[in-house]
C-alpha cells in the first residue's frame, strides 16, 4: 500500500503541500440588482484553511448547502474567492519530476490559466448533465486536448483510446463514436473521469462523483478512482455528503458546516473519535445496513438554515446540544489541534 507523504499542518500547509488554502472566503450577494448595492450576503465559504499533500486524498463532507461544492469550484477557478489565498505547488513536468514553483491562484491570468487547467481538473456530480448530449464520447474526452492544442489528431485519438482502456471502457473503439445517452450512468461517469485525467492533472476535485450511481457501479468507480490516483500520483479533493463513501476514498476528512470547516482529522480517527457535536450527529444519522445494529440517536436540534449574514458566534450554536453561554458570547471558535493531526473548532470539545 502506498503511503502518502506526511499529512501537512492544517493551516500553514507545510512546504511541500500540493494545495494550501488559507482563509478562503466566498460570499454571494442575496439580491443582485443593477442599481442597488447588495445588502445581504450568503457566507458560502467562510475563512476556510487546509492543505493537501501530493498523492493525498482529502474528503470534504457536509450536508447540502454547507459550501463544499463552492470550495471545490474555487480551487479549480470556476469561481473567484472574495478573500483568502490558494497556493499550488504542482510537480514540475521536466525529467527530474520535483516540485515546481509555487503558484498563487489569484495571480493566474488567461495565459497561465491553460497551464493551470492541465494540473487541476474536476469531476462533476451528474453524469447525465455534465456531458454535452450532442457530442460523441471521443469529442468529450478529447476536449481538454483539443482546446489546449495538445497533440495532433491521431495523437489525440491514441490518448483517448488509451485512457478509455484505463477507465475500463473496452474495447475503446466501440465507445469512441457513441453519444452519452447510449451509455449507462456508471459508464458515463467513467467517461467523465477519463475527460478529467486525459490531460494528466496532479490535482482533481471530485464533486460527489458516485452519488447518482447505483451501488454496484459505485464500487467500481470508487476503486477505479483509487487505482488511477495511485498510478498517476493524483490528489483528490473528494466532495461528498456520504461519510461512508469518504471512509473508503479519503486519507483525511474535513467536515463542513455552513461555510466553516468544523473538524479535520485522519479518516478512521474522525469516525472512531469524533470531537465536534456536529460530526457526532452526522455520524449517528447514517443508516447502517445491519438490522441488529442500534445506533445512537443524533441529538442535534432544529433544521439547517442558510448562512445569510450569520451572527458572529459559533455557526453551530443554534443547533448545538452542548452549547454554553460562553459559546453565545464569543466568536466562531478557531480550529485547534486536540491530538496530533486532529483539528476541531469547538469550545466544548
Amino acid at each position: 500500500m502506498q503511503t502518502p507523504m506526511a499529512a501537512p499542518n492544517q493551516t500553514d500547509g507545510g512546504q511541500d503541500a500540493l494545495v494550501a488554502v488559507s482563509g478562503l472566503t466566498k460570499r454571494f450577494p442575496v439580491l443582485k440588482s443593477l442599481f442597488r448595492q447588495p445588502s445581504s450576503f450568503i457566507h458560502a465559504v467562510d475563512d476556510v484553511s487546509f492543505a493537501l499533500a501530493p498523492g493525498e486524498s482529502l474528503g470534504l463532507v457536509g450536508e447540502s448547502g454547507c459550501g463544499k461544492t463552492t470550495v471545490g469550484k474555487l480551487l479549480v477557478k470556476l469561481l473567484e474567492p472574495t478573500s483568502g489565498g490558494i497556493h499550488f505547488r504542482f510537480p514540475s513536468r521536466d525529467a527530474n519530476g520535483g516540485s515546481g514553483e509555487p503558484v498563487d491562484a489569484s495571480e493566474i491570468r488567461s495565459t497561465d490559466l491553460r497551464a493551470f487547467r492541465r494540473q487541476a481538473q474536476m469531476i462533476f456530480q451528474d453524469p447525465y448533465e455534465s456531458m454535452n448530449p450532442r457530442r460523441t464520447i471521443y469529442d468529450t474526452i478529447a476536449e481538454p486536448l483539443a482546446v489546449q492544442g495538445i497533440g495532433s489528431m491521431t495523437n489525440r485519438v491514441d490518448r483517448v483510446t488509451e485512457i478509455l482502456t484505463r477507465v475500463g471502457l473496452t474495447p475503446p473503439s466501440s465507445f469512441l463514436f457513441r453519444h452519452p445517452h447510449e451509455l449507462s450512468g456508471g459508464q458515463r461517469q467513467r467517461v467523465a473521469i477519463a475527460r478529467a485525467l486525459v490531460i494528466g492533472p496532479s490535482f482533481v476535485v471530485a464533486d460527489e462523483p458516485t452519488s447518482m450511481l447505483d451501488v454496484s457501479s459505485r464500487t467500481g468507480i470508487m476503486s477505479l478512482m483509487q487505482e488511477l490516483a495511485q498510478q498517476y500520483g493524483i490528489s483528490y479533493l473528494y466532495i461528498t455528503h456520504d461519510l461512508a463513501v469518504a471512509r473508503y476514498m479519503c486519507h483525511r476528512i474535513a467536515v463542513m458546516y455552513l461555510g466553516k470547516i468544523v473538524e479535520l482529522a485522519e479518516t478512521e480517527e474522525l469516525l472512531r473519535n469524533p470531537l465536534h457535536p456536529y460530526t457526532r450527529a452526522l455520524l449517528s444519522a447514517v443508516p447502517v445496513p445491519d438490522p441488529r445494529f442500534r445506533r445512537d440517536r443524533p441529538d442535534i436540534l432544529g433544521d439547517l438554515t442558510l448562512p445569510i449574514d450569520p451572527p458572529p458566534r459559533c455557526r453551530f450554536y443554534d443547533r448545538c446540544p452542548v452549547a454554553t453561554d460562553f459559546c453565545e458570547g464569543n466568536p466562531h471558535p478557531p480550529m485547534e489541534e486536540q491530538t496530533p493531526g486532529h483539528w476541531v473548532a469547538c469550545y466544548e470539545a
Partner: protein, 337 residues
C-alpha cells in the same frame, strides 16, 4: 497512520456493458473519423425522421412544400421548351390568341389570363421561386442573427445582455407591417432588401428573446462548467456547446419565419409598395387595381390560385415547424419514446 488501502477493493472482473459491434474496427485515422461522424449524422437524422413521419400533418405539409418547389423548378423548364416567351412571359407576355382579357381558363391557358393579357399559370409558377428565395433568405438571416444574439447575450449576461434585450423590446414594440410600409415608401425595396429587413427585425426581435431564454438554460448545464475546466475559452463554449444545442430550436423558428416573410410580402405587394417583377401579392394587386376583386367569383382565376398558394405554402411551413417541434422537444412527444 493513514488508513485508506486501495488494494482492499476487489472488483469482480468481467465485461463492462455489452457494447454493440464496433463502429470502427481499427485504429481510426482521419478519414475513418470522418466516415464514423457521417454515419452518426445519418443515424441521428434517421431517428429524427422516424419521429417526424409519425405526424401525418407534418408529412402532408412537407409534401406540399416539395410540390411548390417542383413548381418553382418547372417554370424555367417550361419557358425553355414549350412556352413561347412572347406569349407566356409572366410580365411582358401577351396572349394574342384571346380577344378579351382577362379570359377564363382554356386549354392553352389552364388558369386563364390576367387583365393585361398575361398567362396566370406562368405568373403563378414564376412567383413561386421568388417566394422561396424570399422566405428562405429571411429565415436564414433571422435565425443567424437570433442564434448569435441569443447565445452571446445568455453567455455574457450583464451589459451585453441588457443592450440586446432592450433592442429586442424596442423592435417588438414597433408595428412591423407599418414599419415596412414606411420603409418601402422611402426606399425602393426589392426582394433581397425585403428579406434582409424582415430577417433583421425578426433576428434582433422576438426570435432573439426566445433563443436567448433557451441558451440560458443551456448555459447553466454542468457541461458548460466542464468545458471551462477543460480550458475552453468563451468562443469555444459558445460555438461548440451553446450554439449546437440551440440549433434544433433555431430550425423551428426558421420555419415560422418563412411563413411570416411570405405573408409580409403578400401584404406589401398587394398595397403596391414593392419593386418586384412578379409575385403572388402582385397578382392579387393587379386584379384589385383593375377592379376585378369586386366582381365576386366571376373572375376567380385572378385571385384564387395566388391566394390559395399563399395560404398553402405558409401553412405548410408553419405545420412542418410544429411537427419538427415534436422531434426537437421530447416532452411534446406522445408516450412511445
Amino acid at each position: 497512520m493513514i488508513t485508506p488501502q486501495p488494494d482492499h477493493h476487489v472488483v469482480i472482473g468481467g465485461p463492462s456493458g455489452s457494447p454493440e459491434p464496433p463502429l470502427v474496427d481499427l485504429h481510426p485515422g482521419r478519414s475513418q473519423m470522418a466516415m464514423a461522424r457521417a454515419r452518426l449524422a445519418l443515424r441521428s437524422f434517421r431517428g429524427g425522421w422516424a419521429i417526424f413521419v409519425e405526424s401525418r400533418i407534418g408529412v402532408l405539409s412537407l409534401a406540399t412544400i416539395v410540390l411548390f418547389a417542383l413548381m418553382a423548378i418547372s417554370h424555367p423548364i417550361l419557358m425553355a421548351t414549350v412556352w413561347d416567351a412572347e406569349v407566356y412571359d409572366p410580365v411582358t407576355g401577351y396572349a394574342f390568341d384571346r380577344l378579351e382579357h382577362p379570359s377564363p381558363p382554356n386549354w392553352r391557358h389552364p388558369l386563364g389570363t390576367d387583365p393585361l393579357g398575361r398567362d396566370v399559370l406562368s405568373q403563378l409558377l414564376s412567383s413561386t421561386r421568388s417566394e422561396f428565395i424570399l422566405g428562405i433568405t429571411a429565415a436564414l438571416v433571422t435565425v443567424g442573427i437570433a442564434t448569435t444574439v441569443g447565445a452571446v447575450a445568455a453567455y455574457y449576461g450583464g451589459l451585453v445582455d441588457s443592450l440586446f434585450m432592450r433592442l429586442a423590446d424596442l423592435i417588438i414594440a414597433l408595428p412591423g407591417i407599418s414599419l415596412l410600409i414606411v420603409l418601402s415608401a422611402l426606399f425602393k425595396l426589392n426582394l433581397f432588401y425585403l428579406a434582409l429587413i424582415i430577417g433583421i427585425l425578426g433576428g434582433f426581435g422576438g426570435t432573439a428573446i426566445i433563443l436567448k431564454s433557451q441558451a440560458l438554460s443551456i448555459r447553466v448545464k454542468p457541461y458548460i462548467e466542464a468545458a471551462r475546466v477543460a480550458g475552453g475559452g468563451h468562443s469555444h463554449i459558445i460555438l461548440v456547446h451553446i450554439i449546437p444545442n440551440l440549433l434544433p430550436l433555431s430550425l423551428l423558428y426558421m420555419m415560422f419565419t418563412v411563413t411570416g416573410a411570405i405573408f409580409a410580402e403578400a401584404v406589401l405587394s398587394f398595397l403596391g409598395l414593392l419593386d418586384l417583377r412578379m409575385s403572388w401579392g402582385i397578382m392579387i394587386h393587379t386584379a384589385n387595381t383593375g377592379g376585378y376583386l369586386l366582381g365576386g367569383t366571376r373572375y376567380w382565376w385572378l385571385i384564387v390560385p395566388a391566394g390559395a398558394s399563399i395560404t398553402f405554402l405558409c401553412s405548410a411551413f408553419y405545420l412542418v415547424g410544429r411537427a419538427l417541434d415534436e422531434v426537437v422537444n421530447p416532452r411534446l412527444r406522445r408516450h412511445t419514446a
